[in-house]
């Protein structure tokens, strides 16, 4: 097996592993559209990073986090419905990113790789960063797992019981921002949400507890990455979309299982 394929595979597996539990929270908390908005804003982060000569991943995390905080503030006002607000900010930030990137020298930037990912371009050095980011996300996630679950069940109940709801919610957004920054390499900004949401949704049918669903989502995501890469390798299809195609196939396959194979 070629080295670059191995790096791509390992990187994809790590990202899918943390995307599983995080995607579960996005499904449980109905944050799919919210995640989409953040992912689109990642492109703006890329443009800003290139413009200001700072690390692109760092710029993406910062832009996503800022937007997440802005969004959670704006969601409390009643002037505009949340879905409208998300729709506006999602496409505004995507367009702003596209416009900013077009100002750069076209040869230097591969726009398609940002939009749809370029997993096969992951090198050994990138892999190290992916590993560090994934480990960080995993540690934080395990640490705040219980309060996070408590606010997902009922925020007011959690607050009365002493959970710091605002802090926990902000940490979740930070984790989503970090995952978007690393997952951008795998599937690109347009498809990130699918890597988070689809394995989680597919795992629902087979799970009896939140932890089981999180673990299964990780495994299904890793399966999708492996299958997608294989598809890409043998049939020369784009890697990112291939992964999403396999993930969706897994979802529909599990969804159509007859009753006895499903849990509640």
């Amino acid at each position: 097996m070629a080295d670059f394929l191995l790096w791509a595979w390992l990187g994809g597996l790590m990202i899918a592993a943390i995307a599983g539990p995080l995607g579960c929270f996005m499904v449980w908390r109905r944050m799919a559209y919210f995640g989409d908005t953040l992912a689109h804003a990642a492109l703006l982060g890329v443009a800003l990073g290139l413009l200001l000569h700072v690390n692109v991943s760092l710029a993406v995390v910062l832009v996503c986090l800022l937007l997440a905080l802005l969004l959670s503030t704006l969601m409390h006002q009643r002037m505009i419905a949340t879905d409208t607000l998300l729709g506006i900010l999602s496409h505004a930030s995507l367009s702003l990113g596209l416009v900013s990137l077009s100002l750069f020298d076209h040869q230097a930037i591969d726009l398609m790789s940002f939009l749809f990912g370029d997993l096969l371009a992951i090198g050994q050095a990138d892999l190290l960063w992916v590993a560090v980011a994934c480990a960080l996300v995993l540690v934080i996630l395990v640490t705040i797992w219980k309060p996070l679950l408590a606010i997902t069940v009922n925020e007011e109940l959690a607050q009365v019981e002493g959970v710091n709801v605002a802090l926990t919610r902000t940490l979740l957004m930070l984790l989503v921002a970090v995952v978007i920054a690393v997952a951008m390499k795998v599937v690109g900004v347009l498809l990130i949400t699918s890597l988070l949401i689809i394995p989680a949704a597919a795992a629902r049918r087979l799970s009896n507890s939140p932890e089981q669903m999180a673990l299964l989502a990780s495994l299904l995501g890793m399966l999708a990455v492996s299958g997608g890469l294989a598809l890409s390798w043998f049939y020369d299809t784009p890697a990112g979309p291939s992964i999403v195609v396999i993930a969706s196939s897994l979802f529909f396959l599990l969804f159509s299982l007859p009753r006895p194979f499903r849990s509640v």
């Binding site: 507890s209 939140p210 669903m213």
Partner: protein, 259 residues
């Protein structure tokens, strides 16, 4: 009487130009069941949520004893179908690390709330009454000094309501905690409570159930059939209301136009 668990002084919540609640003074005691009643939109939930510090108040202050543990039973639990959560797991989330229940007390409460057979079930498949009992049990897991129940019998049939009020009374006896309950239903709750606070933006009347049910302010709010012996009871009220619940200064007259 011993020190109050929680005292609210001059509590007011204003949203926009509207006072949701105003000038509320109340004290909650250990071992006592206090029920807040009032029509829809009277500010009952606002009052509870401000006592729990879930929302900011515009005026007034809330003082509580040191280390007050509150068990809270929210009005409704909206759980996403996508979250696989068993009753046992849901209850686990409410356990208090520093104040764990003794195994005996846990079994007593589990038995009283009749949740034993539900533990393995997914939360989403519980009936209305079962959900309320599980929510109540979760509120009890912290061995609360004060139990706050927002419309505890919602979605429960009449027999279930009686049983649930009985259960709440038993819980008070077992834990010796103070209980604050919100309700818009009258008759059942009156029997199960030590003190009634009748709320319509401000406190219209308060006191023992028999006393309150004969207060004209009470019958103004809930209609003549709700009070016991209104015709025999002559009471001069010092204010009356506009349809928005604002107080108009002046003498009380018979057809006070409560909202």
């Amino acid at each position: 009487m011993s020190e109050a668990l929680l005292t609210a002084t001059n509590l007011g919540v204003k949203r926009g130009d509207r006072w949701l609640i105003k000038d509320v003074n109340m004290a909650l005691q250990m071992g006592q069941i206090t029920t807040v009643i009032g029509p829809n939109g009277a500010g009952k939930s606002t009052l509870v949520r401000s006592l729990l510090k879930l929302i900011n108040t515009t005026t007034g202050s809330i003082n509580s004893i040191k280390g007050l543990r509150i068990g809270y039973m929210p009005q409704k639990l909206k759980l996403q179908e996508t979250l696989p959560l068993s009753v046992a797991r849901f209850l686990d989330l409410g356990r208090h690390k520093q104040h764990p229940l003794s195994p005996n007390l846990w079994h007593d409460l589990l038995h009283e709330c009749r949740v034993e057979k539900l533990l393995a079930q997914p939360m989403q498949q519980l009936s209305g009454g079962e959900t309320q009992r599980v929510l109540l049990l979760r509120a009890l897991l912290r061995k609360p000094h004060l139990l706050v129940l927002d419309e505890p019998v919602q979605g429960v049939d009449v027999t279930g309501q009686v049983a649930l009020y009985d259960l709440i009374g038993q819980v008070r006896d077992i834990l010796g905690c103070g209980i604050l309950m919100v309700s818009h239903d009258l008759h059942l709750v009156m029997a199960a409570t030590d003190e009634v606070i009748c709320l319509n933006q401000h406190i219209c009347c308060s006191g023992h159930p028999e006393q309150v049910s004969q207060d004209p302010a009470f019958t103004d709010l809930f209609g003549p059939q709700s009070g016991g012996n209104l015709a025999l009871y002559n009471h001069q009220h010092n204010h009356h209301h506009t349809s928005h619940g604002d107080i108009i200064d002046g003498q009380h007259h018979e057809d006070c136009d409560h909202g």
